[in-house]
C-alpha cells in the first residue's frame, strides 16, 4: 500500500515555465481567457513594444497604479485575478474565489463600477495603441471592469506609497534578516533551488505567484530541461525507482540516491552558476541568489 501521497507534487524543475498557465488557458471560461489574453497582449505591446514613458504612465494610471515604478511589479498586480486559479478549492471555507470573481467581472456586458466610466477614452486609446483598434468596442467594458475589480481587490487597500505595497525591488527590505523575518525561508528555497518560477511566455515579463517577479528571462546558452524530452513526473520517478532498485540501503548509497534525484532536474550547482549571469535581471531574487550558501 501507499507510503506517500504526493498532491500536486512539484517534482520537476522546468526552465522558462510559461506552460504553468496552459491549463488555465485551456480549461478556464473561454471569454474570460480570451479577454485576459487580448488585454494582456495589449499591455505587453505597450510595455515591451512601444516602451515609452508617456504610454507606460498612461497604462499604469488607467489601472490606478501610477506610482508603481517598475513594470514587472505592475504586471504582477494586474495579473492577480488570473493567478487566483491555484487557490480554487472544492471546500468553500478554503476556496479562494478571486479567479471566479475576476472572470465574472471581465466578462460582464455592462460597466460594473460607475467610477470607471470616465476612463473610457483612456482605455480606448490604450487599446488602439496596443494593437486592438479593431476590437475596441468588445474590449472596452471588460478592461474597465478589470480596472474596477482590481481597485477594490487590491489597489484601494494600499495605505502608504504604491511601491511600498506592490514593489519587490526594495533591497533594503530584503536585507532584513532577524528572526521575525519569517518570509525569508521560502524565497531562499526557491531562489537557491530553482523552484516555482513561471512566466507568461518566452518573451514576456516573468511573474511569480508569490509576488517575487523578475525581469524577462533570457534563455541560457546550452541545453536546458526544455531540450530534454518531456516526461511526466510519475514516469521520471518510476524510472528512478527501477534504477535504484538494486541499491543497498547504506548511508553512502543514500547520498548517491539524493544526487541522482537532483540529476533528474538540472543540477542545482550548474543552475546557480547560470542563474548568476542572469542575476542582474532578477532584482528581488538578487538579494538571495548572490548569497546562496555554497
Amino acid at each position: 500500500m501507499i507510503g506517500a501521497i504526493s498532491s500536486s507534487g512539484v517534482v520537476e524543475a522546468i526552465w522558462d515555465y510559461w506552460n504553468y498557465y496552459e491549463p488555465i488557458r485551456v480549461y478556464g471560461k473561454p471569454t474570460c481567457i480570451s479577454n485576459t489574453q487580448k488585454i494582456t497582449n495589449m499591455m505587453d505591446n505597450i510595455l515591451i513594444g512601444i516602451n515609452d514613458t508617456a504610454t507606460t504612465a498612461e497604462l499604469k494610471g488607467a489601472f490606478g497604479l501610477p506610482n508603481v515604478t517598475y513594470d514587472d511589479d505592475f504586471a504582477v498586480v494586474v495579473a492577480y485575478g488570473i493567478m487566483g486559479w491555484q487557490g480554487k478549492n472544492w471546500d468553500p471555507e478554503v476556496n479562494d474565489p478571486s479567479l471566479d470573481l475576476y472572470c465574472g467581472n471581465i466578462t460582464a456586458n455592462k460597466i460594473i463600477y460607475p467610477d470607471t466610466k470616465s476612463l473610457t477614452p483612456t482605455v480606448q486609446h490604450l487599446l488602439k495603441k496596443g494593437g486592438y483598434e479593431s476590437e475596441v468596442d468588445a474590449l472596452t467594458t471588460p478592461m474597465l471592469n478589470w480596472i474596477g475589480w482590481l481597485a477594490q481587490y487590491a489597489v484601494d487597500g494600499c495605505k502608504g506609497t504604491q511601491d511600498s505595497c506592490f514593489s519587490t525591488h526594495n533591497a533594503t527590505y530584503y536585507a532584513q534578516d532577524d528572526i521575525s523575518q519569517d518570509w525569508r525561508s521560502w524565497p531562499y528555497q526557491v531562489s537557491c533551488f530553482d523552484l516555482h518560477w513561471q512566466d507568461l511566455s518566452k518573451s514576456n515579463i516573468v511573474l511569480h505567484p508569490m509576488g517575487f517577479p523578475s525581469n524577462r528571462f533570457r534563455r541560457p546558452k546550452g541545453p536546458t530541461s526544455l531540450d530534454l524530452p518531456h516526461q511526466h513526473p510519475r514516469i521520471q520517478l518510476h524510472n528512478l525507482q527501477s534504477r535504484l532498485q538494486h541499491q543497498h540501503a547504506s548511508r553512502r548509497r543514500r547520498h548517491q540516491q539524493i544526487r541522482r534525484i537532483w540529476h533528474l532536474l538540472p543540477a542545482p550547482s550548474n543552475r546557480r552558476r547560470r542563474a548568476r549571469s542572469l542575476a542582474s535581471s532578477l532584482s528581488p531574487c538578487l538579494a538571495f541568489r548572490q548569497y546562496c550558501y555554497e
Binding site: 506517500a4 501521497i5 504526493s6 525561508s185 528555497q189
Partner: protein
Amino acid sequence: MIVLQSGETSGVNRLVYLQKGLLHELAVATHGIGVVLEHRYYGTSMPTPDLSTENLRFLTTDQALADEAYFAKNVVFAGLEDKNLTAPNTAYITYGGSYAGAFVAFLRKLYPDIFWGK
C-alpha cells in the same frame, strides 16, 4: 501514522486538515494517528537565532527530508509512551501538497524503509 508535511508555511496553517480532508479521512479509516509536521525554518521550527544567509545554510530539502525521517524513527507521544509508534515498527504514510507534495515523493524514494505505508 499519517503525517501531513506542512511544507513552506507554519504548521498552524495546516491544522485544519486534522478536522477535514485526506489527513482526517485516513486517520479515521485506519484508526491511526494524524500528525501535522512542520518543516525546518517555518513556523516555530527555527534552528538558528536569525535568518541571515549564513544561518540559512541548513535550509535544504535533503536536510528537511532527514528531519522528517528522524521524526518517524524517534517520536514518542505524550500519553502514549508505552507504544512504539516509530517506523518501521509502525506503518507510516506521509502526505503533502505542492512543495510538500514533491517533498513526500522524495521521502518515499529516499527513505522507503521508513515511509512504507501499510
